[in-house]
């Protein structure tokens, strides 16, 4: 057994929590890791209280990227957007509980990158919006 693919990670990969689109999401963002084609979309529902009442994700890709998205959704429920913006990458890597090489760290952090973009209310990366609009 390879310690990179611990029970916990494979479980989140095979049985992702909070998976699926979220109707009525107040925030959502889609991003990809061009190197390997990993994709994540994050959906947030922020209620009157300013807290995340619900969070879903969809995506495809490697076990690391999908498990980390699943773990992340568990971590943020009930948090405020400001709290989400403050999550650092160490927290995500800690949740995974494994040591990753630089290329695989990118897989692990795609979900956080996507989540933060959603939390900031982006719909596309700065600069891309103009590009898309121009087409």
């Amino acid at each position: 057994m390879d310690d990179l693919y611990r029970e916990n990670i494979l479980d989140h990969y095979k049985n992702p929590r909070n998976y699926g689109e979220l109707e009525g999401a107040t925030h959502h963002y889609h991003d990809t890791n061009p190197l390997c084609g990993d994709e994540i979309t994050m959906f947030l529902l922020v209620g009157e209280s300013g807290r995340i009442d619900d969070v879903h994700f969809t995506g495809r890709g490697c076990a690391i990227s999908q498990a980390s998205a699943s773990l992340l959704t568990e971590r943020i429920k009930g948090k405020t957007l400001d709290e989400v913006k403050g999550i650092d990458k160490e927290a995500v890597l800690e949740d995974l509980g494994i040591t990753l090489s630089p290329a695989r760290v990118k897989c692990a952090l795609l979900s956080l990158k996507t989540l933060k973009a959603a939390a900031w209310g982006l719909t596309a990366w700065p600069g891309e919006e103009a590009k898309q609009a121009a087409e």
Binding site: M1, D2, Y5, L10, K14, C36, G37, C62, A63, R104
Partner: protein, 420 residues
């Protein structure tokens, strides 16, 4: 699905054990396991002979080429131009004047798009290419076509991954200004019948550019036989150093083209008002060439000639023939591209259901096996195959049947880790 036995018999012609002794890196270990290098389509390893040729320059007579009248410069210049002659012979170019040293296939293909394309492609012209192209062969023409308003026609593959020749022929018969085609797919390992396709393109009056990055290292490439106008390939994929690459073009075209990069060496005279260009090939080699890398490529080409490029091709096809049956027999394995060994080189792209290629590559790495996972700079092909990435094992003259077995065993082990 049966693997043809065609090439298996002749594999014995390569003394792989002896060859492996020439490659220092192959005796390294990874995660405690002996290295199994199955990523030669990305970059090959280098034999001692190549490293030694480079060492000799740096330690014994390093000097800038062409511009010196002293001994070191003369020796280095002679070695550099010898390398050019070796490359010309290797691809059967009519003259070394037509062999231009560049960094890699990518630069060579861009050189053609810039120095020929910008002055010749016009609004409404048709650029015919294929869904098998590497980004380096595809994107320069995609961008230029957009800039000038030309039409980009992308010919499809059939379900086996082979080029749709019927479609290609029909598109070329409609007329074309440019054909940009890969000789061998780095994603699927299929060989395109470039000679035939180039013939059709010529009849349509098109200028033809062949991307030989995956063919020149692994099989005979004869530019006169193919009949194309330009060809490009990378030294680092064919036992040479990084920083060495070649674009070959017909002298008649190269002479009419504007230069690409401007600067030292590519010039015959400069006044404040105008510049005149040097003769071929130097007109296209601005600034200090990576002359040591080019000399390394010369040594690589001589090494390949000594082993025999046809024998190398047969050996690699035999490796594929050895690998495919057990790999295809594994539950959940999809192999992209043809399942036989006809018109094929040693590239095997596959997927294992339930394991993302990235995870597969990581798990194989733990077994000492280096394979590539990703889109292989082949986005349009991935889209066509309906996947975002594949795992790709690619072979070369130094690989063995035992390494193929190790790959299959490691795939099995990966499935176990994932509980499949």
């Amino acid at each position: 699905m049966a693997v043809t036995a065609r090439a298996t018999g002749s594999a014995a012609t390569l003394d792989v054990a002896r060859i492996r002794q020439d490659f220092p890196v192959l005796s390294q270990t990874v995660h405690g396991k002996p290295l199994v290098w199955l990523d030669s389509a990305s970059t090959s390893q280098k034999p001692r002979q190549v490293l030694e040729a480079m060492r000799v320059v740096y330690e014994e007579h390093n000097a800038n080429i062409h511009r010196g009248v002293y001994e070191f410069s003369e020796r280095t210049t002679a070695a550099f131009e010898d390398a050019r002659a070796a490359v010309a012979r290797f691809i059967n170019a009519p003259s070394p004047r037509e062999v231009i040293f560049v960094r890699n296939a990518t630069e060579g293909l861009n050189l053609v798009a810039y120095a020929w394309g910008r002055d010749n492609l016009r609004k409404g012209d048709r650029v015919v290419t294929t869904v098998l192209e590497h980004h380096s062969s595809f994107v320069p023409w995609q961008q230029l076509a957009q800039d000038v308003g030309a039409e980009l026609v992308v010919v499809d593959i059939d379900d086996d991954g082979r080029l749709r020749l019927d479609q290609m022929r029909a598109e070329l018969e409609k007329g074309a200004k440019v054909l940009a085609i890969t000789h061998t797919s780095n994603g699927l390992g299929v060989i395109d019948p470039v000679k035939e396709v180039v013939g059709w393109a010529k009849r349509a009056g098109a200028t033809t550019i062949v991307d030989a990055a995956q063919s020149a290292p692994h099989m005979r490439v004869d530019v006169q036989d193919i009949g194309c106008d330009f060809i490009a390939f990378s030294g680092h994929k064919m036992l040479g150093p990084v920083g060495s690459g070649v674009v070959w073009g017909r002298a008649a075209l190269l002479e009419r083209m504007r230069p690409f990069l401007y600067g030292g060496d590519m010039i015959s005279r400069v006044s404040i008002e105008r510049s005149d260009w040097n003769e071929l090939p130097w007109k296209f080699e601005a600034g200090t060439s990576a002359y040591v890398d080019a000399i390394g490529l010369g040594a690589a080409v001589r090494y390949l000639e000594e082993v025999g490029i046809d024998a190398i091709h047969r050996h690699e096809v035999a490796l594929v023939a050895h690998l495919l049956p057990p790999l295809l027999a594994e539950d959940g394995v999809t192999v992209f591209g043809p399942h036989d060994t006809r018109d094929r080189v040693g590239v095997v792209s596959f997927d294992v259901k339930g394991i993302h290629p990235h995870d597969m590559a990581t798990l194989l790495d733990r077994e000492g096996i280096a394979v590539r996972a990703g889109h292989h700079c082949n986005n349009p092909l991935m889209t066509r195959l309906g996947v975002s990435a594949t795992t790709r094992a690619s072979t070369y003259l130094y690989n063995t049947n035992e390494e193929m077995d190790a790959l299959v065993a490691a795939v099995r082990k990966a499935k176990k880790v994932f509980g499949l």
